[in-house]
């Protein structure tokens, strides 16, 4: 057992956890932040994606202890109260989800990616989400949502 302090969505949590616990498990089971999903537990599907210091990581492959001292952002930390982020809005507009199980991980991957590369080509978008499996949508509306978003951000210089 180990005592750690995790910073998630700007909030600090004091936790006593087993050292072998993954960040995913701590988020879902200890902090009850169930927006982050488990699709495989092995780094193969991206459903568990969160941001660590702004970079997308598979939280099933990160030990909670290793996440100490880093800023973790989950899907729950993306909207500003009732105000959705523009990525979330683009997802709604383009029906970029069906069952929605891949959606939180997908959105976090896109968030991390666009923060780093605000002006991606279509190929770069496809490459960026290649580690996030979606079995429902066929990816088309997801890529369309991101393209549209990039264009709009470019037009009104708006970035949230």
């Amino acid at each position: 057992m180990k005592d750690i302090i995790l910073k998630v969505n700007g909030r600090k949590y004091n936790l006593r956890i087993d050292e072998s616990m993954t960040l995913l498990k701590v988020l879902r089971e200890e902090l009850e932040l169930t927006g982050t999903k488990e699709g495989c537990g092995e780094g193969e599907c991206g459903a568990c994606t969160v941001l660590m210091d702004g970079k997308a990581v598979n939280s099933c492959l990160v030990l909670a202890c290793e996440a100490e001292g880093h800023d973790i952002t989950t899907i729950e930390g993306l909207a500003d109260g009732e105000l959705l982020s523009d990525i979330q809005e683009a997802f709604i507009e383009h029906q970029a989800f069906q069952c929605g199980f891949c959606t939180p991980g997908m959105i976090m991957t896109i968030k991390g990616f666009l923060d780093e590369n605000p002006n991606p080509t279509e190929d770069e978008i496809e490459e960026a989400i290649a580690g996030n499996l979606c079995r429902c949508t066929g990816y088309k509306p997801i890529v369309a949502a991101v393209k549209d978003l990039v264009e709009r951000r470019g037009n009104d210089g708006y970035n949230r």
Partner: protein, 762 residues
């Protein structure tokens, strides 16, 4: 009729929750004092159980219960059609993954450790892994009753005469792989005992009311004492139609009196649960020189794995569609669904039809080429229309927009401009390009002789809004949104103030399974009927309030008014207060029986269907002749959809189906060798990623009003992936001159075919 909600671009009603991660899937639930469950499964594909010793597991600190077959209070068997699958095996295991015992413990880790402490002594039996060999009389038996789950034979005309008339006869054998659903949410959930003794089971599935019935049989509990909540689901595609973890979680909850949660690890999910039936299909097709089809002889062997589930109905639906949507006078169809020790096969989007469509539409492509006919012209010449006799001998009495679909395929951008997509890439001469197409049809609903209905309830709430209750589930297809749209349209009421409650046996009436493309159609129709009744009730109240007769009342946008004096009106808020004073808020019910055929096909249970949907697809592919890799670059999907209720939803089903179909065509192969799964994760079982997505998929709905459906709609959930594989393999032929008889057409297989081809040309 002027429509305000149906056919309009309405955002999904579950959108906010889904993009903020606040949707609570069954795997997200937790309760105080919750235990974790773990299943011990057989590692042997076929063995007798000699003994089970749970003492060590029980003694492990933190373990609260260990259950075996002895703890099953009712029928130790489940299955939608035939209940031959044990909840927990007693004396025999029939596949590697069969459940033998289960543990509930205070943590997941302890439960896992305890499961390994259960000692099972097996006597290993020979493995039955080849469906053709399995039906020979001397094969080892998976079940006492023999290895044939179902044999269906259908004859029409005189097959020998048909072949005598033929100028060309094409005979080939096709193989379709075992496909994994690969929904992102595995089989997860929680079971618990409520204070009043009710067992509540939360687990994603297609049909909570049937889960309830099956659980009641296994647990020997009245259905009223069981509540099942099975929506929303993180993807299902047929794979959560049959029971999965529900009965085992329930046993553990009953035994411990505590909530028990189970989450299937991905690998265990892939090994242990349902798959698309692999099929071996032997086709002999006869045609006249002018392109008239005269005979088709079809033999199908479907590998149903260890237990029945829906293996019988899947075989029959496949056979119904096995000759395509064509007029063929002489037909012989002979199909077997066979037990083996190869895992378990069950429902999967398309329900047997993608397999036979691959075979038939490959035959069509081969024949068209041999006769020098345009593939669309050739199909048009033989296409079956309303009023004609289908290959299995019944008359098609409803609209199936076969010709309109062919016309739309011909008019699609991809087909018109196909020359642009064909030929050798100038800069990369090893890349060969081609375009192919395929057509499919599929019966909607459950078929003749099976109860097929839906109920819906609409209640006015105290604020003058509405609650709509339907037992179907949200598996991602957008059912809730479609229901809200239909209700808003039929009630002529703002959609924002309609709340849809689905997928819960306590809070929503039985509307049948969310399968067979029927949820929007049946559930939507039941809502429509309930809304009509509700409107009458509202007119009744308004007439009392406004002192005019009910037929003088008109309703619109949340108020009721006198037709001839529009300023005499009452709002629904006022109506609800008025109704409460007079004894209660109005409730209306709708019941819809899905129309079925009036005559059954002898010897083919469930056949024929009555309403059909039709879908044509075109694929453009690139084949890398150095590596054998094929890639789908563009697609077109034409679907006979009736009225489109939600354009985004339709495109979602068509694009999602098309991409899933390309996976089926090119990479997806759940390999089982000697009864053991060789590809139990996403690094060995390859589904499409964003990089495999075609650069365009054009969706073209053929919108003929389906008179029986809600606002003229028809189901489209399944058919979206049915013709994809043959469209892709026909395109591979067009590109590289190699014929694929076995899907998936992996790089390795294509490479081999290219090598053979070279050898032949030398």
């Amino acid at each position: 009729m002027d429509l305000k909600y149906v056919g309009k671009d309405i955002p999904r009603v579950d959108a906010y929750e889904k993009v903020t991660g606040t949707t609570k899937y069954m795997s997200d639930l937790s309760f105080d004092g919750m235990l974790w469950g773990k299943v011990l499964r057989s590692i042997h594909p076929h063995a007798l159980i000699k003994s089970i010793d749970t003492s060590k597991a029980k003694a492990l600190p933190g373990v609260e219960a260990v259950v075996t077959w002895e703890d099953v209070p009712g029928l130790n068997g489940f299955g939608i059609a035939i209940q031959d699958q044990p909840v927990l095996c007693k004396d025999k295991v029939r596949y590697a993954g069969d459940a033998v015992a289960a543990v509930a413990a205070v943590s997941k880790e302890i439960a896992e450790e305890a499961a390994l402490l259960i000692e099972v002594e097996y006597e290993v039996l020979p493995v039955v892994d080849d469906p053709i060999r399995a039906i020979e009389p001397d094969s080892p038996k998976v079940h006492e009753s023999g290895n044939i789950l179902l044999h269906t034979e259908i004859r029409k005309g005189d097959i020998d005469k048909g072949f005598d008339e033929a100028d060309l006869i094409i005979e080939n054998t096709y193989y379709a792989s075992r496909q994994e659903h690969a929904f992102l949410e595995t089989e997860d959930g929680i079971a618990l005992i409520e204070e009043d003794g009710t067992l509540t089971v939360y687990a994603g599935s297609h049909y909570p009311h049937r889960d309830q019935l099956q659980l009641s049989r296994c647990l020997n509990m009245p259905v009223e004492k069981i509540r099942v909540v099975s929506s929303p689901v993180g993807g299902a595609f047929g794979g959560k139609d049959e029971l999965t973890i529900q009965p085992i979680m329930a046993l553990l909850a009953l035994k411990t009196g505590k909530p028990v949660k189970m989450v299937m690890p991905r690998e265990e999910s892939i090994i242990s649960y349902w798959k698309r039936h692999p099929m071996i299909m032997i086709y002999r097709t006869g045609v006249k020189r002018d392109g008239t089809l005269v005979a088709n002889d079809v033999k199908v062997y479907a590998d149903t794995g260890a237990y029945a589930s829906l293996g019988g109905p899947i075989l029959n639906l496949a056979l119904e569609s096995s000759c395509g949507l064509y007029r063929i006078p002489h037909v012989h169809i002979d199909g077997y669904s066979v037990y083996t020790n190869n895992g378990i096969s069950g429902a999967f989007r398309g329900f047997g039809v993608p397999q036979v469509t691959f075979a038939m539409e490959s035959q069509m492509d081969i024949i068209a080429e041999k006769l020098g006919l345009d593939p669309i012209e050739f199909r048009r010449k033989n296409i079956l229309k309303k009023g004609e006799v289908a290959p299995i001998g019944h008359h098609i009495t409803t609209d199936v927009e076969s010709e309109a679909v062919l016309d739309a395929m011909e008019g699609s951008r991809l087909w018109r401009e196909r020359e642009r997509y064909r030929g050798t890439d100038k800069n990369r001469p090893w890349i060969k390009r081609g375009v192919g197409l395929a057509l499919s049809w599929q019966g909607m609903g459950l078929g003749v002789g099976l109860p097929d209905f839906g109920d819906a309830v609409i209640e006015m709430d105290p604020d003058g809004g509405f609650i709509v209750r339907v037992g179907c589930v949200e598996i991602g297809q957008g059912a809730m949104t479609v229901y809200a749209q239909v209700a808003a349209e039929a009630l002529r009421f703002p959609i924002e103030r309609i709340r849809v409650v689905i997928g819960d046996t306590r809070n929503a009436p039985d509307a049948g399974p969310t399968t067979a493309s029927r949820a929007a159609y049946v559930g939507g129709k039941a809502i429509f009927l309930a809304a009509e009744e509700m409107n009458e009730k509202i007119k009744g109240y308004a007439s009392g309030m406004l002192s005019v007769s009910p037929d003088e009342i008109e309703i619109d946008d949340g108020s009721a008014y006198v037709k001839t004096a529009k300023d005499k009106r009452v709002s629904y808020e006022e109506i609800s207060s008025y109704a409460i004073e007079r004894g209660g808020l109005p409730v209306a019910e709708g019941h819809f029986d899905l129309p079925t055929a009036d005559k059954a096909i002898e010897g083919a249970f469930g056949l024929p269907h009555h309403i059909y949907s039709c879908c044509g697809q075109i694929a453009a592919v690139e084949v890398n002749t150095l590596t054998g890799q094929a890639r789908v670059t563009d697609g077109a999907v034409v679907v006979d959809a009736g009225t489109v209720i939600n354009q985004g939803g339709l495109e979602g089903q068509s694009e999602g189906g098309f991409v899933m179909g390309t996976g089926y065509a090119l990479t997806e192969d759940l390999i089982i060798e000697n009864g053991v799964v060789k590809t139990p994760n996403f690094s060995t079982y390859i589904i499409p990623t964003s990089k495999d997505m075609p650069s365009s998929i054009e969706t073209i709905p053929v919108t003929n009003y389906e008179s029986t459906g809600p606002f003229g709609a028809k189901g489209i959930g399944e058919i979206g992936m049915v013709p994809t594989a043959p469209a892709v393999t026909n395109a591979i032929y067009d590109a590289a001159d190699i014929r694929v008889f076995k899907i998936p057409a992996t790089g390795e297989r294509i490479y081999e075919l290219l090598k053979q081809k070279k050898g032949e040309n030398k």
